[in-house]
């Protein structure tokens, strides 16, 4: 067996937690319990988990507007996350951030980012700190097919090469940027070829396959840790839901999502593989599923009863360390 059982269990648990967390977010949003704009990442779990599973809390990730999965994969507490997403004062960011700005510095999660392309320059900074301080930590940014076209992202790629920063650029190519096709927004035929043009190793992989993604990330991460500089990995995947919760998705093909949920579900693909290989049993995974449902139920119940922030004390605090 090429993978430790613990590793496989952790991977599965993490992916499944993301899936159920996101599906529940949709429900809670529709039930009026979550305010604001919420972007869920179900369908893309394999990439988040493959990218983060080997990282320590000192390795830094930078995320996007679609950040829940990255948080969970990086080890953020789902209870504190749900509270944050519901705007409670006991949330990860005291309710000040919300879904689009959720962060957990203690876990090396440098924040979702509601500005497309906002993250990679910052992740360069985390990588620069690691390099300057000689910590051997690495940094990793999540990007989309759409954010790839933001100037800040391209600048960050070039700078990462120039300064040989330990920064892995992960591109989750889910085929869409809101309601615009990836291959419309990207003028080039291949994002990976474009990435390679920046002077870093670049690869395009099947992001629905956890194992393929994990192996590619492992090489890139190790390269970064060994001082070999940045890499770019484009992971092809599918967005199971709308751009935001509530998106009518008129731009998608007939049955596109239904079909994808059937045949392009990274969780199903994972389960099939590990069962076929005899690495894990369905029963084991079903048991994990149950645990997760309980955890999420609890996260939601706790969040729903968690205290709200108090404008008198919370509105004006945390702007500065001192002023």
């Amino acid at each position: 067996m090429p993978y430790q059982k613990d590793f496989l269990l952790k991977a599965y648990r993490s992916m499944k937690t993301i899936r159920e967390f996101e599906e529940r977010c949709v429900k809670e949003f529709e039930g009026g319990n979550i305010p604001g704009f919420v972007h869920v990442s179900n369908g893309q779990e394999a990439i988040a988990v493959a990218a983060c599973i080997d990282l320590s809390d000192k390795d830094i990730i930078g995320s996007t507007h679609r950040g829940h999965g990255h948080c969970i994969a990086k080890g953020c507490d789902i209870g504190a996350m749900m509270k944050e997403i519901m705007g409670r004062v006991t949330g990860l960011c005291k309710g000040k951030g919300g879904s689009m700005h959720i962060a957990d510095i203690d876990k090396g999660m440098l924040g979702a980012n509601a500005i497309v392309g906002g993250g990679p320059p910052l992740v360069n900074g985390a990588a620069l700190a690691a390099k300057t301080l000689g910590t051997k930590n690495i940094a990793l940014s999540f990007n989309g097919d759409g954010s790839a076209n933001q100037g800040t992202v391209m600048e960050a790629m070039n700078m990462a090469v120039v300064l040989q920063l330990p920064h892995v650029f992960v591109y989750e190519n889910n085929g869409y940027a809101e309601g615009t096709a990836a291959n419309y927004g990207l003028g080039c035929d291949s994002l990976t070829d474009r990435n390679a043009g920046f002077g870093m190793p670049a690869e395009c992989i099947d992001g629905l396959d956890f194992f393929v993604t994990y192996e590619a990330l492992k090489v890139a991460t190790q390269r970064a840790r060994d001082g070999g500089g940045p890499s770019a990995i484009e992971a092809m995947c599918v967005r199971f839901d709308g751009h935001f919760i509530g998106d009518p998705q008129l731009y998608r093909g007939t049955n596109e999502i239904k079909d994808a949920r059937k045949t392009q579900d990274c969780l199903k693909i994972f389960r099939q593989r590990v069962v076929a290989e005899g690495w894990l049993t369905a029963a084991t995974m079903n048991a994990i599923d149950k645990e997760i449902m309980v955890e999420i139920e609890k996260a939601v119940a706790d969040a729903l009863t968690a205290p709200h922030p108090d404008p008198a004390t919370d509105l004006m605090s945390d702007v500065y360390c001192s002023y």
């Binding site: 705007g87 960011c93 951030g97 509601a114 500005i115 906002g118 419309y184 008129l250 596109e256 509105l315």
Partner: protein, 348 residues
């Protein structure tokens, strides 16, 4: 939801329209009238390159819906997520015979496009010695209330008001929105047109015909003699609400909606303060170097002798926009805060 329009002059056919519809109206009719008017931005149509429906969004708030089916993708252009390139394309096109209406979706995205706005677009005419014009409209949503958090809820109009070469337009109702958009498209200078995202569904009577509202002319949704309240964008509704409450207490408020903050109708404000002697300025923007203190400063300089009480500004605090609803509600100036400010200047 306001149903007020400010000084509307309605002749001929009209109907109840939302701000969304009013702006859509203005865009559509101008595009019909003038083939050089184009619309560009992210998802202004939506569905580009996708297997499903075209015009899937018509802008994320639906303001440009229906334009692409009528005018085609050549004139309603979905773009990659590259705001600097969007503004640049619009400005360069404006210098070369088009009248582009570019959308920034959220005005918070000026961060990634600011150079093209303030160093290029705004300065062309001056740097080129008056030998160019840049008839460009940049549309964007501003403001809080959607629980969209710190990076999707800012006002930021004060920043562009600071920039010479830009005009800044902030309608508070559907009637004005249409007339100001028509003017914006026909105007030969670069315009920042800011739509408060909580107001899209607000309705009022809007004429069917096209009409242009000149820039730099304030509207007076309420006339009064005790206190002048200057409010902008969504704050106009709240100022009116406050004024109506105060009217019942015998306090007569003049509510002034500048409609454009650059140029600013400071004469209207100064004349009103001459009568009232008291000024309250209400703005959802942040306080430091913001529009509220700008107007306060102007009056303290040019209208000082009219003043009989301290000027009061009612603004958001010096913080980013918080996510949690309670915090955001406390962040945005409320009717209560306006009432308190007016009572203070009446008292003191």
């Amino acid at each position: 939801m306001t149903n007020y329009s400010n000084d509307p002059k309605i002749a001929g056919k009209s109907s109840l329209k939302t701000i969304r519809e009013a702006i859509n109206d203005a865009l559509r009719a101008e595009m019909r009238r003038d083939p050089t008017v184009i619309v560009l931005g992210e998802e202004v149509s939506g569905g580009a390159g996708c297997p499903g429906e075209d015009d899937a969004y018509g802008g994320v708030f639906g303001v440009t819906k229906g334009l692409m089916p009528e005018f085609g993708r050549e004139r309603v252009i979905d773009t990659p997520i590259s705001e600097a390139a969007i503004i640049g394309a619009a400005a360069g096109a404006a210098n070369n015979g088009l009248r582009p209406v570019a959308e920034l979706m959220f005005f918070d995205f000026i961060g990634v496009s600011f150079d093209q706005i303030f160093n290029q677009t705004a300065k062309f005419r001056y740097m080129f010695g008056g030998k160019s014009k840049t008839p460009l409209v940049i549309r964007a949503t501003v403001g809080g209330g959607w629980r969209a958090g710190a990076q999707h809820s800012s006002m930021l109009h004060s920043i562009v008001t600071h920039i010479a070469g830009l005009k800044v337009v902030m309608p508070s109702n559907a009637y004005d929105a249409k007339g100001l958009m028509v003017q914006a498209i026909r105007d030969d200078d670069p315009i920042i047109f800011l739509e408060h995202k909580t107001m899209y569904d607000n309705t009022c009577e809007v004429p069917d015909e096209q009409y242009a509202i000149p820039f730099g002319e304030a509207a007076f949704p309420r006339h009064g003699t005790d206190v002048t309240i200057v409010a902008i964008s969504n704050m106009v509704t709240r100022a009116i609400e406050a004024a109506d409450i105060l009217a019942k207490e015998g306090i007569s408020c003049e509510v002034i909606d500048p409609r454009t903050v650059s140029p600013l109708d400071d004469e209207a404000i100064l004349e009103s303060v001459e009568v009232t002697g008291r000024l309250v300025v209400v703005d959802e923007g942040n306080p430091r170097c913001g529009l509220a203190s700008d107007i306060a400063g102007i009056v303290a300089e040019k209208g000082f002798h009219s003043l009989i009480a301290p000027i009061r500004t009612v603004t958001a605090p010096h913080t980013p926009v918080p996510f949690a609803p309670e915090l955001e509600d406390a962040y945005i100036p409320s009717v209560e805060k306006i009432l308190a400010a007016v009572r203070e200047v009446i008292g003191g």
